[in-house]
Amino acid sequence: MNSKKISRRNLFKVSAIAGGGLMLKLSLPANALEDGATTLVKSSELNFYVQIASDGQITIYAPNPEMGQGIKTTLPMIIAEEMGANWDDVEVVLAPIDPAKFGLQGSGGSMSVTRNFDAMRRMGASAREMLIGAASQLMEVERRDLKAESSQVIHGSGRSMTFGQLASVAAQQPVPVPEQLSFKDPRSYSIIGTSVGSVDNLVIATGLSKFGIDVDVPGMKFASYTRCPRPGGKAISFNRAEIKALPGVVDAFILQPDARSGKASMAFLEGLAELQGGVAIVGDDTWSVFAAKAKLKVNWDESAASTDQWSKMVTDARAIAAKGGGEVKLVGTSVPEALSDSNNRTIEGFYEFPYVAHVCMEPMNCTVDFRKGTAGKPASMEIWLGSQFPNQVKEIAENMLGVKQENVKVHGLRMGGGFGRRAVHDFAAEAMAISHKSGLPVKLTWTRTDDIHNDYFRVGGFENMKGAVNPDGKLAAWDQHYIGFADSGKPVIGSGLRGNELPMVAFDNASVRQSMMPVATACGAWRAPGSNTNAFVEQSFIHELANLAERDHVEFLTELMGSRRWIDEGNISALNTGRAIDVIKLAAEKAGWGRKMPEGTGLGLAFYFCHAAHVAEVAEVSVDADKNYRVKRVTVAVDVGPIINMSGAINQVQGSIVDGLSTMALQEITMQNGRIEQDNFHQYPVMRIASTPEIDVHFIQSDNKPTGLGEPALPPLAPAVTNAIFAATGERIRSMPLSNAGFKLV
C-alpha cells in the first residue's frame, strides 16, 4: 500500500496543465526519501551534494531541515542552476545529518538562503567544471569552448554530451579550487527566479510523506508523558497499579527533572530543553497511552512550581508604565522638552500583546531507540524526529545519559510545522529518558494539550508610547517604554527592543527605556521573534502620530526615512531607507492608496524591516456596526533581493499574512497560578479558510544578496490591519488579540 505508482500519462497530464511553470517530480518511494544513496546505482559523486547516474538522473542533496519554508526545494535549485542542469532531471533527497559534510544543518532566523547561497553556487559551479573537464577530455576539445546547459555539455561546434554520459569521467576530475570558480550571469538563469513546485508535493498529496510522527521502528512501543500542569512541579507518586492494569499499557514510571539536558553549545538554546518532571506511560499503541494518561492521578510536588498569572502581569505592567523609569537604552536630544512644548501636539498610548503558542499542526513527537552498552561496545542511540536543528539532540544524549555523540545517529524528518518551536528539543529529552528507562524503542507523541501547555511561547509584553508632532506636522519626539519579561535577569527570547527599529534609527529625538518583569513560563522563538510584536506597536504608533499631524500616512512614514541610504553601510541586517521607501510606495500604489473608500471600509499601511527584508503591507478592511470585520485584501511589497523560487516565495508571503491575521485576531495564552489555561483548539483557535483575504504579492528584485522569507512578511500584518480598522471606524486598537476588544474576524 505504500508504493503507489503514478502513471506517466498522469505525469504528463499534470505537467501540461501546469504550463511548464510548476513541475511535477516523480519521487522516490517514501521510505527511500531519507537515505536516497542506497537507491542510486552506478552513480558518480561529484561532491557531497551532487550525484549523476549514467542514465542522466541527477541527485542533489538538500542540506537543511524542511518545515514548510520550502528550503528543501530552494537550495537544490541554486546548485542545479549553477551546474547547468535541467530541473526535470533533478531528484532532490534530504541529506543525512552529517555536519562534517553539510555544515550547520539548521533552519531558523530566515537565514538558510542568506547563509547558503554562495556555498550552493560553489557546489553547482564545481560540478559544472568537473563535467566540462570530462567533456574536454572525451571530446578532445578546449575547455573554453564548452558550456553546460540543459544537463549537457555543449561544444561551440554544436557537438554535445549529456551529463549522464560524462558522469563517471567527471567524477575522476580534479576538484576545482573554490576561489577559481566563477558564477553564472543572473541574466542567463533558467531555474533561479522561476516557479518550481515543492519537491515533496506528490508524496504529500498522496499521503506518503513521512513526518516524525509517522516513524515506525521494529519492536517500537508508544509513549505518552504527563508533566505537572504548573511548570516546575515534579511527580512524587501516582496510581501506578491502576494505570499498569489498563489495556495496552506496558509500563508506567516517574521521571525526575534533569537540567543536564538543557546544556547546549548553541547560545540561544542554552538553558532550554531541560527535562521536566512527570509521568511516562509506555504501551502498545498511541491510543492506549493517551487513554491511560487521561486516567492518571498524580501527587505533584509544586513547591518550586510557576505562580505566573497573566492578569497580575497586566496590572503590574500598567503600574510600571505609570511610574516610568526603566533601563535607558537610547536618549533623544530633547524628548521631555518636545513633549511639554505647548506648540506641539502630543499623544500617549499603552499597547499590549499576549503570549501566543506555536501550535504546529504536527504535535511534538520523537522516536528513540536507546541501546545499553555491553562489554566492549559502548551505549548507543538512534533518534528520529522533526527538528529545526536536528544535530543538536546529540548533545542531550551525551549530557543527560552519557551516550557519546559519535554513537548517536539522528534521522531528521520533515516537520509538520516549526515556526521556531522545533528549535527546542525538550520532547526529545523526554523520549530519550523514556527509552533509556524502559529499555525499549519508543515513539513519544504529545497530545495537543501537551503541545500547548509545554510550549516555548511567544512572549507577551507591553509598551507605553508617547510622541509629539510639531506645528509643521513633523515628528518632534518619540518616547518608548518597553515592559517585558526576563528569566534570571536575562530578557527571554523576543522580549525587548532590537535597536534597529523605526523611527529610532533614522530620527535623533527618540528615547527608549526597558523594564523587565520575572517570568517562569517558558518562552522561545516564535516566527520573527521580537519583530512580530514590536512592528505592531511601532507601526501603529507612527500612524497615530501621522493622524495627529493630519498628514497622509505614506508621506509621513517615507519622510521619516530621510535620504536614501544604508543605516549601516553594506550591512544587510541594517535598514536601507531607499529600499524601505520603494516597498512602501509600491504597496501603496498597488493597493490604490488615496482612493475614496466606502463607509465602513479603510486602508491601513505598515512597514517593517527584519531578517534583512524590507516589507510593506496595505490591508483593506471592512467593519460593520457589530464590530465584525473582514480583511478583504492585503497588498504586499517585498524586497529580499533576487527571488530563488517564485512560487515558494509567494507561498511564504501568503502564509505569513494568514498566520499574522490568525494570531492578531484570535490567539492568546494566559496563565492562572502557573497553569496554562488553554487546552486545545476550542480555546486556542486557528483562523479558518473563510476569513482568508485576497493576497497580492509584489517583489522588488533588487541587486542585493538574496535573503530569507520565512518570517519577515508576518510582522507588518497586524499594524496594517489595525491601522485599516482605524481608517474605517476611527477606533484605535492597542491590544491583541482583537477578539478581546469585541472585534470579530469574519
Partner: protein, 159 residues
Amino acid sequence: MSKYTLSVNGENLEVDVVPDMPLLWVLRDKLKLTGTKFGCGIAQCGSCTVHIDGVAVRSCVLPVSAVSGPVTTIEGLAPGDDLHPLQSAWIEHDVPQCGYCQAGQIMSAAALLSSNSQPSDDDIDQALAGNYCRCGTYVRIRKAVHTAASFYNADKRNG
C-alpha cells in the same frame, strides 16, 4: 479487546483492539496507514479526515466500534495509477508548505466534489471549514479545488 473487520481502501482488514479506540489510531498504529494525521483529538482541526461511505468524517473522535461503512483514506483516494484530480491540482498550484494538514484538506474537498462538481468559493469555505492549515495555504487550497473541479468535470465528460 474485540475483533473488527474494516473495509479500508477496498480491502477487508481485521483488527483486534479496544472498542473505543478511534479509527484514526487503528489506521495509523495498527494498519500503518500514516497518511491520515493526528492534530487535536477533538475534531477541531480536520487533519484526521477520512471518508466513510464517501462522507468526510473526523477519524480522531470516531470509535472503531462505530465505523459503519467502507473507509477511504488519502492513500486510497485514487485507487489506480492515476492521481485524483484534487491531488493533481494540489501539485499544480504548489499548495503545501509543511504539508501535514493537506491529506485532511484533500479528503474534505473530495467529499465536496463528489456531491457538488462546481463549487463556489462559499461552498469551498463551508466544506473546508473544519480543516485548519497552520501554514496558511488557504488561498491556494481554494484555487486548487476550483481547478480540480474543472478536471473532474472534464473527466466526467470524457467518460
